[in-house]
Symmetry: C2
Amino acid sequence: MARLEQIGFLGFDVFGTVVDWRNGVARAAAPFLQQHGVNVDPLDFADQWRGLYQPSMQRVRAGERPYVTLDVLNRESLETVLARHEVDFGSISDAELAELNKAWERLDPWPDSVAGLTRLKRRFSIGTLSNGHIAGMLNLAKFGGLPWDVIVGAEIAGTYKPMPQAYLKSAKAVGLAPHCVAMVAAHNADLTAARANGFKTVFVRRPAEHGPGQTSDLTAEQDWDGIVDSLTEAADALDC
Amino acid sequence: MARLEQIGFLGFDVFGTVVDWRNGVARAAAPFLQQHGVNVDPLDFADQWRGLYQPSMQRVRAGERPYVTLDVLNRESLETVLARHEVDFGSISDAELAELNKAWERLDPWPDSVAGLTRLKRRFSIGTLSNGHIAGMLNLAKFGGLPWDVIVGAEIAGTYKPMPQAYLKSAKAVGLAPHCVAMVAAHNADLTAARANGFKTVFVRRPAEHGPGQTSDLTAEQDWDGIVDSLTEAADALDC
């Protein structure tokens, strides 16, 4: 990865790249769904909830509503999904919904994440460059032992990826020019936007993010500056 | 420290509380002063530079200028101090001034800081709640091995302590009510403001911050929720 020699900061996408949101959300949702008689497979429920992720951010990106943090959007999306399953909201307390929404802060890292980040941190500053909010990223790090140096991304920028300011304000916050920052992500679209804003790029293949039937982001769609199958492989490639 | 049982986040003042700015700045300034024939003791120079810290922030607090990051203020203060010593700015490059300004990102932790923070981090989320900016706090952490979970404080809030929003927006960013956050500082004034905004408070005695002749903040001036002589003592008191 010779093109990454000048990098000072590695900014990580988190949901899907560093942590396994699908199984974690399903694990948290299962008892809730059972208790309230919602007849849906917990993994399908996780997919449906996540399916509203991009549309919910799109309204902010389009300027149709002011920036709100991801936990606000996730909570709205949760209620939307539950409504589609015709749940009886009268039987569900606000505290239960808030608790279920915390599922996004209690997701297991992929098996290589903590080891890879710990090694990468020796040579680089590392941090989240996620659409997650600061408190969510902090709680997720404490839950899974993710050794971030700093949390930047959407809340710092006041907008969501792939808007340019999400990348540019994050680079500015860590005190570096865009070409001295690498975006690390399992999603080609994220890297496309990062590169368009001058960032270096590392693609991490996560073929199980969406379960066994995944069809998206199975391969690198451009000649990213790094292409790896795990964060430990990234550490190997970067001599960490 | 029974009053700290409900705390989820410890927010730390950094300059003086966690790191020794005086000796670090003097160390960085010494060769610069010698090279440019500035006839001042490096420790005195550090004191003079730091002496402009509060006045420089006061213009932002008073609304006389928009929020700018601390490295901008430090750079202006550096030039002010040098001008008082009648240096020849024509002989000094911008790069030299920028490099000297980085002294604030290369300060040694007090001997107990890394060990204390590492222990406190096991039980609490820990982060900077400093007037320093994100990049400066990040670089300082990498330099000294400070194991922060998150960086909040002035840049997150867009204003400087002791303005209420510096505390309140930092608590909000980490997702907690003020009474679930403790401010840890070597300065009574910082704790007074934190308490006024609902925070819990821990005073760390740092009698050498200003050198052997220090006269301020030698003792706790209120019944802070914790009063300790080091961060390892704080860890002891909090069963970490």
